[in-house]
Symmetry: C2
Subunit: 353 residues, 2 copies
């Protein structure tokens, strides 16, 4: 309902001035700009092309543009979003807030200027405050793959607690008692879930938590190598490792092969997988898997629904399930650590000759 002309009439300015505010043109008085902006927020302006309202949402990267460090998570997420948008007749834009947003415009202003009606936000290390500000402004938004305590922030994420606990209990059922935990060193709800699952599973099994078995490191291949080296080198070494992110897991596997440590005969490994990385190595990784595509699909559906029905008041705090997949990197704990150090590897060797 709120058009540029309607707002202009209410404030006794011309439509041209309102348009200038919307597009962040420099030559408009600061007081006038403030008046227009606050009125726009009140009335809930939506951008239009001609007489038609635009049906475009954006996937916005608050800090950096599209990242590739997490492997195939981003493509899977995008694919899901596209699938969700298809039925809703919405288009998708890609935005990088830090790069395109001028510092003296509000987030709402920025999004309206880009002609979008809602935004899916990707949450990374240092931009939680940005996300909170966007949510506080009231622009339709939804954070994907992160959790927030602030009630005004909408989010959808995969809850990995049940699967993570299942993973640790799987290791316990195989006889493992020295289970290491390799965590990402950022306070992130996903990783907090996995930590909690680890603690709870050990507690219920009556095993006292050994701080020496828990490491917090960046998500990287070299972190994984460091984890393996450390856990093997303990006086009472770990017999299994639960790594809470894909890169660290791959690092552990790589290092194990480099050092000739047989997985799973000498060391069981459970990872977390966003995509299909678990099937790219041998043995295939036993892993907690989250379906990034489903995450994107649900996000797109909720956001378009919220926009069209104008019920953005109903906060989104959804979680979707992850699953635990048993593959080749977990096995029973060796009866005695030094008894048959190269047993299963010999079998492989023979079958190859």
């Amino acid at each position: 309902m709120a058009s540029v002309r309607a707002i202009a009439a209410q404030l006794n300015v011309s439509p041209a001035t309102v348009s200038r505010v919307l597009n962040n043109h420099p030559d408009v008085d600061e007081a006038t700009r403030e008046r227009v902006l606050s009125r726009i927020n009140e009335l809930g302006y939506v951008p239009r092309i001609g007489r038609r309202i635009t049906n475009v949402i954006a996937l916005a990267y608050p800090d950096e543009p599209v990242r590739s460090e997490y492997g195939a998570f981003e493509p899977a997420l995008l694919s899901g979003i596209m699938r969700g948008l298809e039925e809703q007749q919405f288009d998708l834009k890609l935005l990088s807030i830090r790069r395109d947003k001028s510092p003296d415009e509000t987030y709402t202003q920025f999004f309206i200027r880009k002609g979008i009606r809602g935004v899916i936000l990707r949450c990374f290390r240092n931009n939680r405050s940005t996300i909170c500000r966007i949510a506080a402004e009231g622009f339709p938004s939804l954070v994907v793959a992160a959790e927030f305590d602030e009630p005004e922030v909408n989010f959808i994420r995969a809850d990995s607690y049940p699967s993570s606990r299942q993973a640790v209990e799987h290791l316990l059922s195989l006889g493992h008692r020295r289970i290491a935990l390799a965590m990402h060193n950022v306070p992130d709800s996903d990783h907090a879930d996995r930590r909690r699952a680890y603690d709870d599973a050990l507690y219920c099994a009556g095993i006292k938590l050994d701080p020496a078995l828990v490491m917090e490191l960046p998500a990287s291949l070299s972190s994984g190598e460091q984890v393996l080296d450390t856990m093997i080198g303990l006086d009472d070494p770990a017999t299994a490792i639960f790594a809470t992110n894909p890169m660290t897991t791959l690092g552990i596997m790589r290092r194990a092969q480099e050092r000739g440590i047989d997985v799973p005969a000498q060391m069981s490994v459970v990872g977390v997988d966003d995509s299909d990385v678990r099937t790219h190595v041998w043995p295939r990784l036993s892993a907690v898997t989250q379906d990034a595509s489903a995450l994107g699909l649900e996000a797109a559906l909720w956001l378009t629904q919220a926009i069209t029905t104008n019920k953005s008041r109903a906060a989104c705090r959804r979680t979707i399930a992850t699953s635990f997949e048993v593959n080749g990197t977990t096995g029973p704990v060796a009866a005695k650590s030094a008894r048959r150090p190269r047993g299963s590897a010999e079998k492989h060797r023979e079958s190859a000759s």
Copy 2:
């Protein structure tokens, strides 16, 4: 220059009718639609919002939407495109042609309806004809990571011939004479390059090409496994494999570890990598690497340039270089194939105990 009203005036119809044609509304006579369309093509209409011309391009997936099967290639490409667009003040939309385009509209019509001024096209298996049609219609477009003979198709790709040849020559210099080639089974310029490099390198080394050493398969993990099994099983087995896509290479590595075949002591492997997969396995893959991000950057720069300067007549047939990176999967050929079948593996085992 060409506005809806201008076109309408030339054809003695109303602006409303032209708009209806542009937006593919059903209730417009077929003859009228044809007349409007042809005139639009002649005059080179560009979509506008209000009085401003839109600065949006799209990354369009002709067939399927964003794919994740090639690992981190897509995110890297997107990241490069975003970087290129940043300086040019263009926005990026993501489109899926097969899903969003109505069958009875032309490609130009579809793109105009989506409000974009140019399109970067991703080329997959069965859509080369689609791409040719788009190019023939004259809409500003650029294909990324593929090659076309048709002079009207603009493309930018990584030329992997020099690096591929370097890779094969590297194997030759290590003493390998039985070098297998595992190819993608689609006629694709990238893979044609690699085939040519293989042929030429062998020819220059005076080695006769053995058809038994060349396999054409889909790009998948299981193809890689099949390749390794076949090449090991030959009467005169291969001592090295050059695999022309990432997935097949990973499959080879996985199978080698599964069968206990030591890489590179018993088998050297050279792969092709779009992203960072080569560093995710142990040993790190010796590989021909192409920089997808640079590809995206250059594509975005060329397309925006072509749009703004209106010099889309200057065809784009650019190639950027790839490089060959020697890592851990290539080594000298064993003096005798059966002499020390597990030598280097034993070393690893000892260092781990």
